[in-house]
């Protein structure tokens, strides 16, 4: 389950992303610099699950909010409403099917603690973590497109690679694809992304 949550964390992008790259260190330096200037992000997203056995993908819609240093809201709005908020050492989650909203202390819930660590490591541009977890290559410089392959065998047993695409100005992530070993994949496309706009206080 930890690996799964690590994976989930990686699917919460529209956050600044940095990586090592042999082909083009200048590109990654630029991405790093741009990420450092990001204080808030809000974005809609469309999540598509492509399964080889089904003709049409499973599509969900949602919205993401992030504010430095440690606030994040990830919510699905359709077809089923659900989501969670991370704020400092506290969290809150909800789900239409359970009919419940639950508050929790991140430190007291190992799973959410792990999730928050991953999310904020990315948000804070923690290169040490990214380098430890993934081998990163640059597939395209403009707009930037990165490929990340898990280093650990456990993660690699269900995740083949990730593709992370950036906006033209390199300030935020436009798309993420999570490719599984059997060819199925999840694509998240971020739309209407707004950077550094003040967010309502009650969003977190």
């Amino acid at each position: 389950m930890k690996r799964l949550l690590l994976l989930c964390a990686l699917l919460l992008p529209a956050l600044p992303l940095h990586a090592e790259s042999q082909p083009s260190p200048q590109l990654l330096e630029t991405l790093e610099k741009n990420a450092g200037s990001v204080r808030t992000i809000s974005s809609d997203f469309v999540q598509e699950k492509h399964l080889s056995m089904f003709k049409n993908p499973m599509t969900s819609k949602g919205r993401l909010y992030f504010a430095r240093p440690d606030q994040l809201r990830w919510e699905l709005t359709a077809p089923v409403a659900s989501g969670f908020v991370l704020k400092g050492d506290r969290g809150r989650r909800w789900h239409e099917r359970t009919g419940r909203t639950e508050n929790f202390q991140i430190s007291q819930e190992p799973i959410m603690k792990l999730v928050s660590e991953q999310l904020f490591a990315w948000a804070r541009s923690d290169f040490a973590w990214i380098k430890k977890e993934y081998r990163v290559t640059v597939l395209q410089e403009s707009p930037a497109l990165l490929r990340l392959e898990p280093r650990s065998a456990a993660t690699a047993s269900f995740l083949h690679h990730l593709l992370v695409g950036f906006s033209a100005d390199g300030r935020y992530v436009k798309s993420v694809e999570l490719h599984e070993k059997d060819g199925d994949f999840t694509r998240i496309r971020f739309q209407n992304t707004v950077v550094n706009k003040a967010l309502p206080a009650d969003i977190f």
């Binding site: 930890k2 690996r3 999540q47 099917r97 359970t98 059997d182 999840t186």
Partner: protein
């Protein structure tokens, strides 16, 4: 105890307690007309066409614990086969299991779940009860009431009962009571979309293990295969 544990995992990972309120309204019953057990069995929603694709969300409930899941199901009742792919809210695939009337095959189970012995078989059991078997048969004993039909038969030391009703005399409930098993599946909110009749809600109560599995059917479409 081991069997109970497996059943719990089945529900947890299949799609998504206690016998609390069902989140679907009861089907409105109408006066019955003469029908045979064979006609009732032939009219069951899942066998009305070829293979179907069922998208749904589900909730597993046990002693206050509530676990939601998203899933896609490929269903071919004529072939007696279903294939379930379940995901978490972020699209991460948790498992992919093929269910047959008398067996199952795990095509993929995420490692953190695969370590539980019998996991795939347990998932398959819930899928089978809800979508495949036992199914009403032409030879079942039939009782016709003013506003509902009930067919029944004894099988494997347990009594199977199928209740039908509503404007299309659809399957409303399957129950199984025996020395070593006690469960029932209820079907709600029958609707017709693009010519396909299907229930919008399904509830499985497993009495021995004490869990409830609730399914919200988002869509049912003909399979492209």
């Amino acid at each position: 105890m081991k069997r109970i544990t497996l059943l719990l995992f089945a529900a947890l990972l299949l799609l998504g307690a206690g016998c609390a309120r069902v989140p679907f309204e009861a089907t409105e019953l109408v006066p019955t007309v003469p029908r045979s057990a064979a006609q009732l069995a032939d009219g069951v929603w899942s066998s009305q066409r070829g293979p179907l694709v069922v998208r749904h969300s589900a909730l597993f409930e046990l002693r206050g614990m509530r676990v939601p899941v998203e899933a896609m199901l490929s269903l071919d009742t004529k072939a007696g086969e279903a294939r379930l792919v379940a995901m978490n809210e972020m699209g991460v695939k948790l498992y992919d299991i093929t269910v047959l009337r008398d067996g199952s095959r795990a095509n993929f189970v995420i490692p953190d779940l695969a370590r539980y012995p019998g996991f795939a078989e347990a998932v398959a059991l819930s899928v089978r009860r809800i979508f495949l078997a036992p199914a009403p048969g032409a030879g079942d004993q039939l009782e016709v009431a003013q506003r509902s039909y009930q067919t029944s038969r004894e099988e494997g030391g347990a009594m199977l009962r199928f209740t039908f009703g509503g404007t299309d005399a659809q399957l409303l409930e399957t129950s199984c009571r025996g020395a070593d098993q006690s469960w029932r599946v209820r079907y709600y909110r029958y609707q017709r979309r693009d010519g396909l009749l299907f229930p919008g809600g399904i509830v499985l109560d497993e009495d021995r293990a004490g869990y409830r599995l609730t399914l919200w059917i988002d869509s049912v479409e003909p399979s492209n295969e």
